[in-house]
């Protein structure tokens, strides 16, 4: 289930509506977005999303396309970014370099690091590869506070993007200018990565992921296929690092550590590693959760962790997988079968989730809030977290929600089967 974009046409022409429409829509969206979300903070967050999407897509070249689980991928982005900040600080050289070209240097450095590490880490896949990536990641992250010359210790190194050569008169003083630069690189890298998945080595990465031994008997060395994917991924991680350097003008140990590496795994998997566009959804949703949910509750990490576990256990395809599950019903023209069961299940389901969250929040507030501060506000309702009524209401909502959901679930399963079964005589 690598991609479903490819149609049955035997020799697809280079440009069709089907394969260009998503790109055109993306370009249009990226061009208009800052008009809709015009505040500087919205642009800051969109920049963050853009960078993270590039990183997540690059990460998915390994996880999704190549089946390699890396626990230390932040270092390729980080080292690329550090290199870019160093370039920003080379006054004479940087003053001849238009800023938009800077990420290329990040990419090259990320790639070089990937060549070195990949030369021994890609010999084996699976668990061993994961462990090596973890060890190397920890090693480089730990070195960052020791090798002060390059990493600047714990305070990191910073530069100023505006010292670059003006690019058609743009000095990149404003966030909006950086936004368009990021958007350009986002599109370019996404396009290149998509194209990479269509090349022989990209296709073989899928084959090696599915069955490395069989691939060996087709003339391909699994190890080299993994190596090339790894290097390509390192390049795009470096690009993301360069964009980070331009955006934040500072890189620190944080860009290299396990938390960052874990985060990218989290969002890639949430979005759906099995699909090219999965990481895009993952990065956007994760950052929204982090910013919006993080503003709402101190327990956001708990919720994100629970969501992640639930995804791994029940929807290994991630959000993208959930979306793509509906392709068959849509093709069969039977989406309508699902609407009512969906409503019947999801409304109580959402109720159940909100109820459970309320219980958790109330418990947390009752335990940890300062004495005397018994009032808490969730879902626009303010009440006393120590009152028995609040507890009863929250628990009741949760229990009723769960009960209703359980009751409606068989109906949904049935409707799902129905929606996925072609009507007699009509085949897709």
């Amino acid at each position: 289930m690598t991609d479903l974009t490819q149609k049955t046409a035997h020799v697809p022409p280079a440009v069709t509506l089907g394969n260009t429409l998503p790109w055109i829509l993306s370009i249009a969206f990226l061009a208009i977005a800052p008009q809709i979300f015009s505040s500087n903070s919205a642009i800051t967050i969109m920049n963050q999303m853009g960078i993270t999407i590039v990183f997540a897509l690059a990460y998915n070249m390994l996880l999704g396309q190549g089946g390699m689980l890396s626990f230390g991928h932040a270092v390729y982005m980080g080292v690329g970014g550090f290199a870019c900040v160093h370039i920003m600080n080379m006054e004479t050289f940087f003053s001849y370099l238009p800023l938009p070209f800077l990420p290329i240097f990040g990419g090259v450095v990320g790639m070089l690091l990937a060549v070195i590490v990949g030369s021994f880490s890609t010999r084996r896949a699976g668990t061993v590869f994961a462990m090596i990536s973890l060890g190397v990641g920890e090693l480089i992250a730990a070195c960052s506070v020791i090798i002060v010359v390059f990493f600047g210790g714990e305070e990191g190194i910073s530069g100023d993007r505006t010292y670059g050569m003006p690019f058609f008169g743009i000095e990149f003083l404003q966030h909006i200018e950086v936004y368009y630069l990021t958007a350009f690189w986002l599109l370019l890298s996404a396009f290149l990565m998509f194209m990479f998945s269509r090349t022989p080595v990209g296709r073989m990465a899928n084959a090696v992921r599915d069955n490395p031994e069989r691939a060996e008997f087709l003339g391909y060395s699994s190890r080299w296929v993994r190596f090339y994917s790894f290097v390509a991924s390192g390049f795009f991680c470096g690009i993301a690092g360069g964009l980070f350097a331009i955006n934040y003008e500072i890189l620190t140990e944080e860009n290299l550590n396990l938390a960052t590496s874990g985060g990218i795994l989290l969002m890639t998997f949430l979005g759906g590693a099995g699909f090219f566009f999965g990481p895009v959804i993952g990065a956007v949703v994760f950052i929204l959760l982090q910013t919006v949910l993080g503003l709402q509750t101190d327990l956001w990490a708990l919720y994100v962790g629970a969501l992640f576990l639930a995804t791994v256990m029940f929807f290994p395809g991630g959000f993208a997988g959930l979306l793509m599950m509906h392709v068959t019903p849509i093709r069969l023209g039977k989406m309508h079968v699902l609407y009512v069961p969906y409503l019947k299940t999801f409304i109580p389901g959402i109720l159940a989730v909100l109820g459970i969250c309320s219980v958790i929040e109330i418990v947390f507030h009752a335990r940890h809030a300062p004495l005397g501060d018994e009032d808490m506000t969730i879902f626009w309702t303010t009440f006393n977290s120590h009152s028995i009524v609040a507890w009863i209401v929250a628990i009741a909502i949760a229990v009723i929600g769960v009960w209703l959901t359980k009751k409606a679930a068989p109906g949904l399963v049935e409707a799902w089967h129905e929606a996925n079964t072609p009507d007699k005589g009509a085949s897709a």
Partner: protein, 414 residues
């Protein structure tokens, strides 16, 4: 939690709808520090102290200017420089002109540079950075800028006070210096070496080393080395788990001398050291609470403890930050023109409830104040930390510590 929910909705809306300065009447202060993750306890306690200080010291007294209230808006930066910069942008978008932050000099560094760049690039919408706890000397030396004010003493000033105390103790002949391997740990080591050599050339530094920050599981080997070196005293700039692990290990393995520290109190640390640390742990800081310096301070601590029984008034500089900002705004006659406010802050002398004055040195925006060395004990403690019965008792005091300390700051004023 109450405060997050309150600011959260507004912030979330502002994020995507681009509303700015919706509540123009309040003077909003962005508190950018960790509120989740490993350092949440420290951050939350700091936030409580800021909210309490703003309420009791400003709002209850009628606010600033024509009755404008201080409002603390909390932003969780997860001690990440990247998150801090994002939260800074959100804060600026909400029309906030004052940022307070303290945990981690790394974050402070990122913020001060970002604010400097922002103010240069957006002269119509400038921000001040009130640093209440990040002590890296560089912030008021080579990395100083007009927008940054530090209300805490810097690491060198604190070391000056510590070494005064050490120099005054004739029993100390050998000293062991150990710290976390990063800029602050290195700064502590350099300052200790230099100052001890000046003040007590007869003291031998028998060990001077750095260990990886946040990575050491077991400090026993370090403790063994310290014990074997025959040191009479230990100096460390460690904080958090590294401080507790090191201190406990040293004491468990038979060390009996004093341990001079920067951050070995409150936020659970005092309770954890408990009896083990009695009479051993020494700490340098401003704002004494045992014995209480003034009735005003005693009343303040008691009111705070009534509201936050699990909290500590561990950072008295927070009251200075709030009071001095209020005074500067009143003097400047505006809360939005931060250049005027900054000019008012420069050179301000503020008499505080902790029995001393704070002088904001104009050359480098470094607050000059009295510093004390405390000892961890349960004897003669009026206000303990962590409700443990143990607290910090004032041993020595240096008035206007570091008043003449040199600075390399080349302040560029707008």
């Amino acid at each position: 939690m109450h405060y997050t929910a309150r600011c959260g909705l507004g912030a979330a809306m502002a994020l995507f709808l681009g509303t700015t300065a919706a509540f123009a009447d309040n003077v909003k202060i962005a508190f950018i520090d960790p509120l989740s993750g490993a350092f949440a306890a420290t951050g939350t306690n700091g936030l409580n102290q800021f909210e309490f200080a703003a309420q009791t010291l400003v709002n209850d007294k009628g606010g600033v200017l024509d009755g404008d209230m201080f409002e603390i808006v909390a932003f969780d930066n997860k001690v990440s420089p990247k998150e801090s910069l994002i939260q800074l942008q959100v804060a600026i978008d909400q029309g906030i002109h004052y940022v307070v932050q303290g945990n981690s000099s790394g974050v402070a560094n990122a913020l001060t540079e970002a604010i400097d760049k922002h103010n240069r690039r957006n002269p119509e919408n400038q921000v001040l950075f009130l640093n209440y706890s990040a002590v890296d000397p560089a912030l008021t030396n080579e990395k100083c800028n007009f927008w940054h004010f530090r209300f805490d003493a810097n690491a060198d000033m604190k070391m000056d006070t510590l070494t005064d105390a050490i120099a005054a103790d004739p029993n100390i002949k050998k000293v062991y210096i150990i710290g976390q391997d990063y800029s602050f740990g290195k700064a502590v080591s350099a300052a200790a070496n230099q100052m001890l050599a000046e003040k007590r050339p007869d003291i031998e530094v028998v060990g001077d080393e750095l260990h990886p920050i946040g990575k050491v599981k077991d400090f026993t080997p370090y403790a063994r080395k310290i014990q074997s070196s025959g040191a009479d005293a230990v100096i460390t700039g460690n904080w958090g788990a590294d401080m507790f692990g090191l201190g406990k290990s040293i004491l468990d393995n038979g060390f009996t001398g004093p341990i001079y520290t920067y951050y070995a109190a409150a936020d659970g640390m005092t309770a954890a050291f408990g009896e083990t640390g009695d009479g051993h742990i020494r700490l340098v800081s401003e704002g004494a609470s045992n014995p209480p310096p003034t009735p005003e301070a005693a009343a303040y601590i008691e009111a705070f403890k009534t509201k936050y029984p699990d909290g500590n008034v561990s950072q008295s500089r927070i009251t200075n930050t709030i009071e001095m900002l209020a005074a500067a705004i009143n003097e400047a006659g505006t809360a939005t023109d931060v250049v005027k406010v900054a000019n008012a802050l420069e050179g301000m002398e503020h008499k505080n409830m902790w029995g001393g004055t704070v002088y904001m040195r104009p050359e480098d925006h470094q607050g000059i104040q009295d510093l004390h060395v405390f000892v961890h004990t349960n004897d003669g403690i009026t206000y303990d930390y962590d409700n443990s019965g143990y607290g910090m008792l004032t041993e020595t005091t240096v008035q206007n510590a570091g008043m003449d300390s040199p600075t390399t700051c080349d302040m560029k004023r707008p």
